[in-house]
Point group: C2
Chain length 314, copies 2
Amino acid sequence: MSLLKRAELALSTHFEQAAGSGAPPRLVAAMRHAVFSGGARIRPQLCMAVATACGDDVPELTNAAAVALELMHCASLVHDDMPAFDNADTRRGLPTVHKAFSEPLALLAGDGLIVMAYKVLLQAGAHRPERLIALMDNLSTGVGLPHGIVAGQAWECETSADLGEYQRAKTGALFVSATCAGALSCGQEPAPWAPLGAYLGEAYQVADDIRDVIADAASLGKPVGQDVLHARPSSAQALGLDGAIAHFDHLIEQAASSIPACSSRDMLRHLVQLESERLVPKALCEGYFKSHPHSPTRPNTPVALATDRSSTPH
Amino acid sequence: MSLLKRAELALSTHFEQAAGSGAPPRLVAAMRHAVFSGGARIRPQLCMAVATACGDDVPELTNAAAVALELMHCASLVHDDMPAFDNADTRRGLPTVHKAFSEPLALLAGDGLIVMAYKVLLQAGAHRPERLIALMDNLSTGVGLPHGIVAGQAWECETSADLGEYQRAKTGALFVSATCAGALSCGQEPAPWAPLGAYLGEAYQVADDIRDVIADAASLGKPVGQDVLHARPSSAQALGLDGAIAHFDHLIEQAASSIPACSSRDMLRHLVQLESERLVPKALCEGYFKSHPHSPTRPNTPVALATDRSSTPH
């Protein structure tokens, strides 16, 4: 079974088990819409791949850890898409949760998914208390204060923010949680796996910035040009487009090199390369430069990495 | 030390410890505003009171459990106050979080508080893994699907909802978690303490409905008349005002009677009585009936317990 299939199967099983019966049907439908709308499942796959490298001796715990990461990711997307933030109408080519269900339900769906992430771990890990506690701690680090994805998103509301700190928290933190969770599910030290998550997470954020400039909305499945629109810190703004692409390539190299010596190293490097091409397709870059021969690839004026969105209406 | 003082001290200590250092300052300030704006701290006090009755042999775990409950409660208030729900400008006489900080920060503050609740437990309970896991499970039950406070709030978005089910989930669930957490912190069976939480929680919701009718905004510290405004299920609407007050009194009696035989039974009964008077002050009721001699105390027309807020703009 491919990692993607394993992730999808685990998500379906754990979602239904954790939702239980008797919950408000529209809330459950909103949460289902948030989770089952065609995500790439990269975080759970990453967790499962590292677990495979570490022996994967309790696969049901690995599955739960992988699911918990994806539920947290989906929760953050639901809230990020809301009018208070990106005000996005579409995600992965479908209506966002608040568009399909309502703002109140989007708000509650995000909250419900955060709690569900912990519940999934609790339901699977009670017989492995030490690993369970380590996994919950690792998950909280990736999401909460001071450096998790919630904090990362909140840097957009400060009057000044460091681009690296912002990107590490907004995207990198949950990638680090993902690789570490793979090791922790097997009762192993997570530290050797943290750099893989960190480099890959930073690469994802840079890729997101690049695609926000060069992709069209149809292929991206969500609105483009959001970083400029919301005056958000962006690598493409800070480094210029070709600088951002070079930075992305370097991060992918670093991610691949960071993989510890193990029997699954080749498989993991292959996964990193596949993701790299999926994230920033060479053809897309070439097509963009061909159709925008005079586009500035370096910023002409110094670009502020800082922004204060909190004072602007959304 | 009074339970209230113990709760406040534990909140301050655990909040700072869990926030760590280096988080976005405005996010931390928004979360602090949400937590330290003069709440009654009834859930943590209830947890601590039950723990006292159960021996309170690991007080630092009791404190963490109490804090986690209050953080979840505060998270739900922050999100409930937002424009997508109540659109409330004030809470406890102060600006709500989205008014004082911004909608994006209110959204993130709520998310951050949910994760912080788990983190507080994890930081305090690692050396008591069994109790810790039971406490986390109990907390998730009180907040998540299918019957926790997130589900309770979501019943407002359904086209039909049972008033009892709605109230049990919206308010009762976290009260049940609170009394059960007191027992679980001491490694004891939570079941005997669940009815106290359930009756008290229902009484709180009924009291909220009553005060929404008879109080003025100044004494309540938040807008009144919200149930009618938002067409929300309400005991005062369903039973009439005197019916709701009688129901409240009955619930308080049941709460007091449910307290298991223990050396702290008198202390707990006293706490319940004090809360009863604080919630629905006799003087307030008498004052209202004096100034509204012709107010309908029974509904004149059948009252729909169901509502669909999801289709109305907020």
